[in-house]
Symmetry: C2
Subunit: 361 residues, 2 copies
């Protein structure tokens, strides 16, 4: 934990060297990149909105830095630009959405919209997504539920980078799970976590920045701790949280997202393949929403009444700092690191998009 | 992790000094203890079955060692022996069960039965339990779902022993979450985990055995690691897995179990108070059960195809060793440690129950 904490502080210091980019302009640029790569205008606009949302929350690992990668996948045909996600089965409080091998975000957003609608009718709903691509931060979808007065749950299959307990090779996905619930305090509780000590994107960001990683993040091929992100990515495995517990969480998500959806799983699973699950619980089916919000706020007060650990900036709930950043970044611009700015600039040049926003070094 | 692993090995060595007790006789004894404490015969029989089930799976921390504690609570009036859990609200695919302040297991079993029934009708269901007591291992309830061809989820509020991230005092529950799913391999995937490095019961068992604990299990009142289980229990906090992730999982369960149920939460929450949530997803609403089982088995083969870490006994899924133990212990008897045997003997003597089963030292 100390290592992780120190690494965070180092990253925050590096942030001072970042450049602020206007959120609205960034959204327009990203949307245009997707439109030029073949997406219909409305889907392209949604992708701009969805990726910038992650950066606004400070979750740069799932933000606009992915746009050039998606665009390359769209041009190469790995991702279907004209994908039209469809509800292929609709039974009671459940449904299955087929992502049509498109950019994953579109089908998962649609699935959560359906889950919320069904939760309002039945009280709770489960929607499974298959034949879908990488879909970014799950917090986006659980936030949809929280904004609609529901408790949201979402999970996705991720890259297979965790070893089963007792094993040395990659077999379990870096599958994030997310829960969100509304509060009366200007932010939603929103937990979005991989079952590994760090998300895979953190390894990639360390590679892009040429940084070493803390020893408790990853193992080499023989199961020894390594500080080399390149080695970890090429042949190693990522460390699960809580040992067998993190492995178990990863397998649970593989079952919920990969096995249940009827999508691909494991050896059948390509780089971008896999599935998702979204669930919504309508709070009003259990108690008036106002009562729930008041109870949440009492819980928050209780959590924040603890003595603060010396040196800690305070007590914050999952989702709270993200909401604070969103307000700040919308006003002051989003701090983007150099590799992200360069990659966006290169993608814009390649697509012949006038890079209307300033992306200085 | 190394500490935890070494501790496990030490515990397994200690197990060689345990005494084997016949499971059927143990069930009869425990049921009789509950009957004498005022439970109706059918509920008493269920409690014998449910607690012995945990020991059969090797989860002694949630097994018969709790019987004397429950019996004291029943005699003292903290737990209502005549409790009649009721469905107080039934809307679509959701319901709320009131535990009537009884032994918690009875209401949660009833709630999962209802969730399964509703899942068969709607495809998925969420049932909330409030005014309920401690309910043992959540794996019991998710196993009900797996046995019925569902994916089960369950969580409960536990003792408040985790500090919020950035804080020093206990504010977040040791709330276990469990997911289970059937396979075709003679066991169900069954993950049942607290959001802390170890369950609270492990601390209590270390105290009972006079053992020290590994330094990564708990903190003292000032947030420093401690190896003293008594200190940890009296004024410390338990270490969450993955730092803020474990804290987040604990808060998510507090929301799902405590806030959503309309039960007590946090400062309102007594020692035995709290709520639970159970969810079931009917697999047949998504694909034929046979197909799901075949896909699960392919996943298991894939997981087990990884090279085994030198020194590890093999690759096992959550729930697999538990199922193996269940078969072995049913045949050869359940290994019970001395404190558990002594506590059961004392409880039997106090209740005037002839301790028909042999409990030698």
């Amino acid at each position: 934990m100390t290592d992780l904490h120190e690494h965070r502080e180092a990253s925050e210091q590096a942030e001072a060297m970042y450049r602020r980019v206007d959120a609205a302009k960034l959204e327009v640029l990203v949307a245009e990149l997707f439109r030029r790569a073949g997406l219909p205008t409305s889907n392209a606009a949604f992708m701009g909105h969805c990726l910038v949302d992650a950066d606004l929350r400070g979750v740069h690992s799932h933000g606009v830095r992915w746009a050039p990668t998606y665009v390359r996948g769209l041009r190469a045909g790995h991702i279907n630009p004209q994908a039209e996600p469809k509800v292929v089965q609709d039974r009671g409080a459940t449904a299955i959405v087929d992502g049509d091998r498109g950019v994953g975000h579109i089908a998962v957003k649609m699935a959560m919209d359906l889950a919320i609608q069904k939760a309002k009718e039945y009280g709770t709903a489960t929607v499974s997504i298959r034949r879908n691509g990488h879909c970014g931060a799950m917090a986006y979808y659980t936030q949809q539920a929280a904004d609609a007065g529901c408790i949201g749950f979402a999970a996705t299959t991720g890259g297979t980078m965790i070893a089963p307990w007792g094993g040395l090779e990659r077999r379990v996905g870096l599958n994030p799970i997310s829960w969100a619930a509304p509060t009366g305090r200007g932010f939603s509780f929103n937990l979005d976590m991989a079952p590994s000590v760090v998300a895979g994107s953190k390894i990639e960001m360390a590679i892009a920045r040429g940084e070493k990683i803390p020893l408790d993040w990853a193992f080499d091929a023989e199961g020894s701790p390594t500080d080399d992100p390149v080695l970890a990515r090429r042949e190693g495995t990522l460390a699960p949280i809580g040992g067998p517990k993190g492995v178990g969480l990863g397998i649970a998500a593989d079952i919920l997202c990969g096995v249940l959806s009827g999508g691909r799983y494991g050896p059948e699973q390509g780089e971008r393949g896999g599935g998702q699950i979204v669930q919504a619980i309508d709070i009003a089916h259990f108690q008036p929403l106002e009562e729930f919000l008041a109870r949440m706020d009492r819980m928050i007060d209780y959590l924040k009444s603890a003595r603060v650990r010396p040196g800690a900036p305070g007590i914050f709930l999952p989702g709270e700092l993200e909401a604070q950043r969103k307000r700040e970044y919308r006003e002051r611009g989003i701090p983007l690191d150099r590799p992200t700015r360069e990659a966006l600039r290169a993608a814009a040049a390649e697509a012949g998009v006038a890079c209307e926003i300033e992306l200085p070094d």
